[in-house]
């Protein structure tokens, strides 16, 4: 479905992505993980066309999309949920869900996608997506929009950020339901173990490179073995030690 070939991307003399090669097959749930600043979000933006690589190729459904615009990629079937959703003065939740669906969506279908993310349609459908909504509400609306878009490939950039613990289990079932309904591939950028646990495959990115990519059963134990436990502070150590 998606193939990234030798993707390089640098900004401000910093190499953010270094010859990234990655293949995402049809109908897979992929979780991309890795330390902060390793290039995960940049990679997602490059797939969507929000950023353009310095070199390399992006092949989607057998077609070279490297030079295609965001709109063209969206129309071909790529969707992207922002890490920090955008607010719109004047546009309502219903407007955004309709735009996502690509045409006028039945009210009952719009209600369903909102219910899936734990929002009461009656309360939210006609609300403006403005500063009156909390970060968590915006995040859920963002996810609902992608559920309505039904893309062949949907990328979620840290969807769990800002979602309260109570909603977290629902979030996981939303991804599972989307995966079952759409039969497309879902790529989730996440640090959360519970999200890693639903992946078919895990991609570990460190320092701008794909360090590991394989089935969850293989990669997950390697990731956890790699993390060193945080050392405890010696109780006898002076509190002001190390201060400037």
């Amino acid at each position: 479905m998606l193939e990234l070939k030798d993707i390089c991307f640098s900004r401000d003399n910093k190499n953010i992505l270094k010859n990234v090669n990655l293949t995402i097959d049809n109908n897979k749930m992929i979780v991309i993980t890795g330390p902060n600043g390793s290039g995960k979000s940049t990679l997602a933006k490059i797939i969507m066309g929000i950023e353009n690589p310095d070199s390399g190729k992006i092949i989607f459904d057998g077609k070279d999309i490297t030079k295609l615009s965001i709109t063209e990629r969206a129309k071909m079937g790529i969707g992207f949920a922002f890490q920090q959703p955008v607010r719109f003065k004047g546009l309502t939740v219903k407007d955004l869900i309709e735009i996502s669906a690509g045409n006028s969506i039945k009210v009952c279908d719009a209600c369903d996608v909102l219910a899936d993310v734990g929002l009461c349609a009656q309360e939210y459908l006609n609300r403006e997506v403005n500063s009156g909504l909390s970060g968590g509400e915006l995040k859920r609306i963002e996810i609902a929009m992608l559920a309505a878009k039904k893309s062949k490939l949907t990328i979620f950039d840290e969807p769990e950020a800002g979602i309260d613990l109570w909603s977290f289990n629902n979030l996981i079932s939303v991804f599972e339901k989307m995966h079952d309904d759409i039969h497309g591939s879902i790529v989730i950028i996440s640090h959360q173990e519970r999200i890693l646990n639903i992946a078919d495959e895990i991609v570990l990115i460190t320092n701008g490179k794909v360090e590991k990519h394989g089935p969850r059963e293989e990669v997950l134990p390697q990731i956890f073995n790699k993390v060193k436990p945080c050392h405890k502070i010696d109780k006898n150590q002076k509190c002001n030690e190390g201060r400037a």
Binding site: S69, I70, A74, G79, V86, L96
Partner: protein, 305 residues
């Protein structure tokens, strides 16, 4: 009525047939149709151009349409309309003016509307302004709205300038009685070299009175808009003024919101924001499959909805 006149009525008052209830249609400075009801009377003024609209106390679920249309260039139509709303009445008033100017001469309508709301009266007032026509003559609208709210009266005013008005100065003055409430929602779009200035001058004189003014505007091309508000809190009261503007091309917006607290229990807020469409908003809509132009249109349409 011909096609042009019917379209103007549709644009400003959403009228396609004879409106229900009371109405007064003014066309090129003359009366073109009127209807009154048992509770709503419309009387032509004797001392100056215009009408008195008298609504009996306790009138509910009725509406008044008073649209004005101009299709002649070179006409300067000045009109004074006074509204007397009886105690505890609850009605909808739809006004507005549409100009079709196919000449090189200026067509201008200045409507001066004065509202007197008695105790407990409530109205929703919708005013739309629209211009069109292939002529080079200016299309000018200078509406004035004077609002007097008695004890516990409330008014919701929706003021919209859709498009095609060469220049406008829109003034609203309000005197607020005890416990009265005023909510004003303004939407303005200017293009080309059009200019628009709006002025809101509100006196919160009555205890527990409140006003909320929300203005949203879009200035495209080389157009210029100015927003001036002055809300005076003279007693225990609440006032909120919000002005949001989107600028595009060489469009310019000047915002001058002023609040004046003359009493220690006056609570007044003003907010103003001017800027172009945020890049991330365009990108978000493009990731949903819209082109940049379609995304821009969606954002503007939503903003002015």
């Amino acid at each position: 009525m011909d096609k042009i006149e019917k379209n103007l009525l549709k644009q400003i008052a959403d009228i396609e047939k004879t409106p229900m209830g009371a109405y007064n249609i003014r066309e090129n400075g003359k009366l073109a149709g009127r209807n009154t009801t048992a509770n709503i009377d419309i009387v032509t003024k004797k001392d100056k151009p215009g009408i008195d609209i008298i609504i009996k106390p306790n009138t509910k679920n009725e509406s008044v349409h008073i649209p004005v249309i101009l299709t002649q260039g070179g006409l300067n139509d000045l009109v004074y309309n006074d509204f007397y709303i009886g105690e505890n009445a609850d009605v909808v008033i739809v006004a507005g003016c549409g100009i079709h100017n196919s000449t090189c001469n200026t067509a201008e309508h200045d409507g001066i509307h004065t509202f007197h709301l008695a105790k407990g009266a409530k109205i929703k007032y919708i005013e739309k302004h629209y211009g069109e026509g292939e002529g080079t003559g200016d299309r000018i609208l200078n509406p004035q709205t004077i609002i007097n709210l008695d004890e516990n009266a409330s008014m919701e005013m929706e003021s919209v300038q859709i498009k095609g008005v060469t220049s406008t100065i829109r003034e609203t003055f309000a005197n607020m009685g005890k416990g009265s409430s005023l909510v004003i929602s303004e939407r303005i779009m200017t293009t080309g070299k059009q200019t628009a200035k709006t002025i809101f001058d509100v006196n919160l004189n009555g205890e527990d009175s409140s006003v909320h003014v929300a203005s949203r505007s879009v200035a495209e091309d080389d157009s210029l808009q100015e927003f001036v508000s002055n809300v005076k809190g003279n007693t225990k009261c609440f006032g909120h003024v919000e002005c949001d503007a989107i600028i595009m091309g060489n469009g310019r917006v000047i915002s001058d919101p002023k609040i004046e607290a003359n009493d220690v229990d006056a609570s007044l807020i003003h907010e103003a924001a001017i800027g172009k469409i945020a890049g991330e908003q365009l990108i978000k809509l493009m990731t949903l499959g819209l082109t940049e132009k379609e995304a821009e249109e969606q954002i503007i349409n939503g903003f002015l909805k």
